[in-house]
């Protein structure tokens, strides 16, 4: 019964001060990514997101010419240039679809583990609570990047399949070649990933409050909707710059020549503020929480 692998592991158990062989959480981070992206639910979310550009492209393909100026921005340009499917789809998915999927993932972070009971085993493994919180948040951020990237790449792919691809005319009137346009798609995905960082932090915090993941998910989505509604009310003008959804649609600056980074920077700063505040709240709640599930 005695194990042959003991000697190696024992040596490390004694040297508690030295850097652990597993690294400072990298091993757990990879494991988190594997669990998150290996799970069918995540694939279903990403597939649903990928369906958005496909639906748009097919609809445009099947209909006769879209009258200019009707429908979402860029829609009328799709039939001339397939790359606009990506821009249109990313724009369309910002208000609801992206927050919905991010809400599911961020709301599930801690509450999902608590619900399964795996939280207690992760903590006695031991994973420090702070480390677990960081890894869980990092996993949610990875999804925040994967989600808009999926929309953009699926859009570019289906656009290229159904429509001609050519130079893209930017909002500033300048024309860029398709490879540069592809780069802009990646830039917008990055912009949206940053945009969703604040919402993810809110979701992480809500997730520490409950052992019912659906509750945390729904609450996160509701928060994102409320933020956008408040952003529409002119009476609350003073509040608008403080809402995490304020810059969500501000990626038009990335479609100009030369690139304007102003809204990217303001957005990043605002999101960092949300991450700091809700990260601290999540920390305060989680490190003192009794794990009774």
């Amino acid at each position: 019964m005695s194990s042959s692998v003991r000697p190696e592991t024992l040596g490390t158990a004694d040297a508690t001060d030295a850097a652990p062989p597993g690294g400072w959480g990298l091993s757990l981070f990879w494991s988190e990514l594997r669990v998150l992206f290996g799970r069918r639910r995540t694939w279903a979310l990403l597939l649903a997101l990928a369906a958005i550009p496909v639906l748009i492209a097919v609809a445009v393909r099947l209909s006769s010419a879209v009258p200019a100026g009707r429908g979402p921005a860029f829609l009328d340009r799709i039939s001339q240039n397939g790359l606009f499917v990506a821009f249109t789809a990313m724009l369309v998915s910002v208000p609801l679809f992206l927050p919905l999927t991010v809400g599911v993932v961020a709301g599930d972070t801690i509450a999902g583990e608590a619900n399964l009971g795996t939280l207690r085993y992760l903590l006695v493994a031991p994973t420090g609570r702070v480390r677990l919180l960081l890894v869980k948040y990092a996993g949610a951020l990875a999804f925040c990047l994967a989600a808009p990237l999926t929309v953009g790449l699926a859009g570019a792919a289906i656009g290229a399949a159904l429509f001609p691809v050519g130079p893209v005319t930017l909002l500033s009137g300048d024309v860029i070649e398709p490879p540069q346009a592809a780069l802009r798609i990646l830039l917008i995905a990055a912009y949206l990933a940053v945009s969703l960082a604040g919402l993810s932090a809110v979701g992480l915090f809500l997730s520490t409050l409950t052992v019912v993941p659906v509750g945390a998910m729904a609450a996160t989505v509701v928060v994102s909707v409320v933020s956008q509604v408040l952003d529409q009310l002119p009476q609350l003008e003073w509040l608008h710059p403080w809402l995490f959804s304020h810059y969500w649609l501000g990626f038009g600056d990335l479609l100009r020549q030369p690139l304007l980074w102003d809204s990217f920077a303001s957005n990043a700063l605002l999101q960092a503020g949300y991450v700091a505040v809700f990260g601290a709240l999540a920390y305060g709640r989680f490190v003192t929480k009794d794990i009774l599930s």
Binding site: G22, R34, L116, A125, L132
Partner: protein, 332 residues
């Protein structure tokens, strides 16, 4: 396990678990009340108590999952939860049943939990996972999703998780719950072999027969309080024992026993003679009571024809019921 348990530093502490005044309140209810647990190193410690008596809550506090309302915990000689980073890698645990990701396979689950362990070397991870699975007899189901595991298979996987790294202490909350007879026996053997290697094992259970078979020490909880603890033979001894004399001379036997300070109670006559019973409170050398062999000598010297003489020890179950009450209803 000798290398881990017998290091120069670990020799200095003789107690693997030590709590002082450990208390947990849930609102008004006191789930664990001023618990002073003492688990010596190398013991197989049975933690007994009826449903809802606070066993799992205690284990949660030992492992730092729940904060104590009052009191302190020392595990392996170190403060918990303050020094969890040093303590918990050396502790394997099964708390309130196994819990896994249903969409991952058995071995993927173990890989994940091992990755969560700071000190677990990634290089030996696969070997350790395979070995742990083999130890609990799950090698063939390693690739199956846990979603498709039976209750007993999950329980076995939970035990495998506790065995992923070499441990100095195993905390097992009802490890044989849901296991078939073979599984139960395997767990017993596993506990014995781990204990033989020097691992301290802390098992909570209601299965008294099982505790009687494998434990060296035990503690009994009742409604959040510790009502008894110590080495198993002492626990049994402190319970009452009675003698049973079978003889045709009921009257003389009773008077001899009365002279020895025992309280004889005549029992109904049996075919081979009359039965006289007497409680033998606190059987042992230090109580001043006569030893059983002396009682027989006195009886024979008193002219009593002894046809049968038995010392009936209380079973652990009798002792358990005596300590925690007869009632079936859950307290609180």
């Amino acid at each position: 396990m000798t290398a881990a348990a017998g290091g120069p530093e670990s020799r200095m502490y003789g107690l693997t678990i030590e709590t002082k005044g450990l208390t947990k309140r849930f609102g008004q209810q006191v789930a664990v009340n001023a618990l002073d647990l003492v688990v010596p190193q190398g013991a197989v410690f049975g933690f007994l108590g009826p449903n809802g008596s606070g066993k799992t809550t205690t284990i949660r506090m030992l492992l730092g999952l729940a904060a104590a309302s009052a009191g302190t915990v020392k595990l392996l000689g170190m403060e918990m939860p303050g020094q969890f980073r040093e303590v918990l890698p050396r502790v394997g645990a099964l708390v309130e049943g196994p819990a896994f990701y249903p969409f991952l396979s058995g071995s993927e689950n173990l890989h994940r939990l091992d990755a969560a362990t700071r000190h677990a070397a990634p290089g030996t991870r696969k070997a350790r996972v395979d070995q742990a699975l083999e130890r609990v007899g799950l090698s063939h189901a390693a690739g199956k999703r846990v979603h498709a595991y039976s209750l007993g298979m999950k329980q076995r996987l939970g035990i495998a998780n506790a065995l992923l790294s070499p441990r100095e202490l195993l905390v097992l909350d009802e490890p044989t719950n849901g296991l078939d007879p073979q599984g139960t026996r395997e767990v017993r053997n596993l506990v014995r072999s781990l204990a033989a290697d020097g691992t301290t094992v802390f098992v909570s259970s209601h299965l008294l027969a099982e505790v009687e078979q494998i434990c060296t020490h035990a503690a009994v909880m009742s409604a959040g309080r510790l009502v008894a603890q110590g080495p198993l033979p002492d626990l049994r001894r402190s319970g009452s024992a009675r003698i049973r004399v079978v003889t045709p001379d009921g009257g003389p036997a009773a008077s001899v026993l009365a002279r020895l300070g025992l309280a004889p109670e005549p029992a109904p006559e049996q075919p081979d003679g009359q039965v006289v019973m007497a409680a033998l409170a606190g059987l042992g050398a230090d109580t001043g009571r006569p030893a059983p062999e002396d009682i027989v000598a006195h009886l024979v010297a008193g002219g009593v024809r002894v046809r049968g003489f038995v010392v009936e020890r209380e079973s652990l179950e009798d002792r358990f019921v005596a300590l925690t009450g007869e009632g079936f209803d859950v307290v609180q």
